[in-house]
Amino acid sequence: MEKLCKGILLVAIVFLFAASSAIGQEIKIGVIGPMQFVQGQGHWNGAIMGAEEINAKGGIQVANKKMKIQLIKADSNEFINITDATNAMERLITRDKADFILGGFRTEAVLAMQDIAMEHKKIFIGVGAAHDELCNRVAKNYNTYKYWFRGSPFNSTFLVRTSFIHLGTVGAILRQFLNIPKVKVAIVAEKAMWADPMIPAAEAVIPKMGMEVVGVWRPSDKATDVAAELSAIQRTGAHVIFTIFSASVGITFARQAGELKIPAMQVGINVEAQKDGFWQATQGMGNYVFTMNTYARGVESNENTKAFVDTYVKRFGETPTYTADTYSAIVYTLAPTIEMAGTLDPDKLVSILEERVYKSASGTVKYMKDAQGRHTHDLTWGPGYLTAIGVQWQDGELKGVWPNKWKATPEAPEITYKGVVPVKIPPWMIEKYKK
């Protein structure tokens, strides 16, 4: 009897160990972002979709076993307090034992969070921050920062380049349809770190594009009234307002410009205009605002886009923004790389990932090297890789308008994404200039 009891006890202990190790058969992915804000909600929604898709197939094949994904949500509160972001990152790694981390949004916070993740040798895929420095660190100090990869969007330099192409496209349309010989451009950039280097770049490039810069305005990123700035812009006779906004000023500016019927087209970056809620937030006054974006309903950058956008819209009732690229980070970046490596060892994963070329939901991903041949883990921009799209609000709908017969160079083939429509000029602008 005593032997039997001991036997049962032994079996129970073995079972408990087996059960606890079975619980450990999960890959823990930390999703960090400002969860009370749209950006963080995008992070989380994309990650949920990605994890569910992988888990529905039984998980990720790691060597000879299938491991399911367990997501851990961490609110970085990074818009308000960067210390909250670093604490959340520390907690994800030390207490929650996350194997991988996705997310981050505000550059200032991501730089701080990046240091913590790198110290613990955790692969951190940034989905939100665009500053070049995040990847320059990889090149400068590879051994420390090699666990960082950019997931979305591409870096600030390419963001500017793309928005200049959008500006050129709109300039050409205005010249053609309104017979404006010399297009005047007002640059309006919120006061934020990421926008600072874009201003001298814009001032240097715009004249080379055959347009004239009539002034630069730097409202606060949280300005609640820009009527004064708009009056000043109108006084200059600007035909185009080149916007560089990521915060709430994008809504204020678009709403007031629309309500005052300022006869100039807004084009550039306006992160708030990328969201479905923009129409309501501007009370419909954000019509004709043109911004760079990653996704739009009905626009396909490649064969993966439609399935992702449609499922996301069906599941969450809104168009995904680029922070929902946590989906691609799980489905197209992490999962296949882990399966190829057959291990969760970060060093092995890094060496495989930096050589991979693969399709995500928004384009083809290839990690770059700098001019000296050093790995940067930054995203390659350009035709055939990632280009982003241009979208315009047209009567309550966010329509894809670029690339539409776009040629990267005069010799390059034309590129048109499926689902794009022509750019519309605001009627009050046509009324003013088409005489």
Binding site: Q36, V38, P219, T224, A228, S231, R235, S248, I251, Q280
Partner: protein, 291 residues
């Protein structure tokens, strides 16, 4: 000429908004010596009430505004009774309690509405052109309401018994008490008027702005600057200070567009400059005299 008109119009509009906020703040400080840091948080709550009424209950914005003013005034009175009145004699504690109250309101709004940027429709849509400058009807409404409220407040303070009681209490609480004025009741009523003014400001300003749970912070700084510039507790000082800072902001935007984000800082610098010359503010009681 255009530039001057632009500066005048922008200055008047910004000044009116600051004045509405600052007068309410100044009133409760003058009467009960309460530094109500949560003043602009009540303004934020009113804005969200209007959003809720117009978008979730599909009410006309006017009803939303009326409801918001009533609800927020009640909220102000309840907050006063529970959080402020018991510690009223300790000015430092009141200061901290009202900061906590404002933070609590902010977090409640984050929980309820998240940090998403929202907006409400204008009461009067469109704009008109004055000397070549486009002005929103809503801005004109803000300016007119500010003047009306100021006039109403003047009548209340100068022509009614309540006004007399408020002025007496503001001058000397102990003597007012000895004269039979229920000082605690006057303080509570003043709190109601003060919070009501904050709610009303929220109601008329919200269509011009974007709603988010931290929208109370910037107006708080400007309001405090206006009050300090005008002289703590002085209503006419707050009125004048508001327009000085409003014009300072407009000048920055029009004369230094690259530094438009500095408009708040420049306005605060103007305040410091005035305080260097008149430490008690434009119409404040000098510190020595107060002691």
């Amino acid at each position: 000429m255009d530039l001057i008109v632009n500066i005048i119009v922008s200055g008047l509009i910004s000044g009116s908004i600051f004045a509405l906020l600052a007068i309410g703040f100044s009133l409760i400080f003058g009467v009960a010596r309460i530094v109500n840091i949560a003043h602009t948080a009540f303004y934020m709550v009113a804005a969200y009430c209007i959003y809720f009424a117009t978008h979730k209950m599909s009410l006309h914005p006017v009803w939303g505004m009326v409801g918001a003013v009533v609800l927020v005034t009640l909220l102000g009175l309840i907050s006063y009774k529970i959080f402020i009145n018991p510690i009223r004699e300790h000015e430092g504690a009141v200061l901290i309690a009202t900061i906590a109250l404002a933070m609590a309101f902010q977090e409640i709004m984050v929980l309820k509405f998240t940090g998403t940027y929202l907006s409400v429709p204008s009461l009067v849509k469109g704009y008109f052109v004055i000397l070549g400058v486009k002005v929103f009807y809503q801005q004109l409404l803000t300016f007119c309401v500010a003047l009306l409220i100021m006039a109403g407040l003047w009548i209340l303070l100068m022509r009614t018994k309540l006004g007399l009681a408020i002025r007496s209490t503001a001058q000397d609480r102990e003597v007012a008490n000895l004269m039979g004025i229920n000082e605690a009741q006057v303080a509570m009523m003043t709190m109601g008027i003060s919070v009501g003014l904050a709610a009303l400001t929220g109601a008329i300003v919200v269509p011009l702005t974007t709603l988010e749970p931290h929208m109370w912070l910037h107006p708080l700084i400007m309001m405090m600057a206006v009050v300090v510039l005008g002289g703590l507790g002085s209503l006419k000082g707050s009125f004048l200070g508001a327009y000085i800072l409003g014009f300072a902001e407009a000048l920055v935007v029009f004369l230094a567009p690259m530094g438009a984000f500095l408009k708040g800082s420049v306005a605060l610098s103007v305040m410091i400059l005035v305080l260097l010359i008149r430490p008690e503010g434009l119409f404040g009681v000098s510190f020595e005299e107060e002691r």
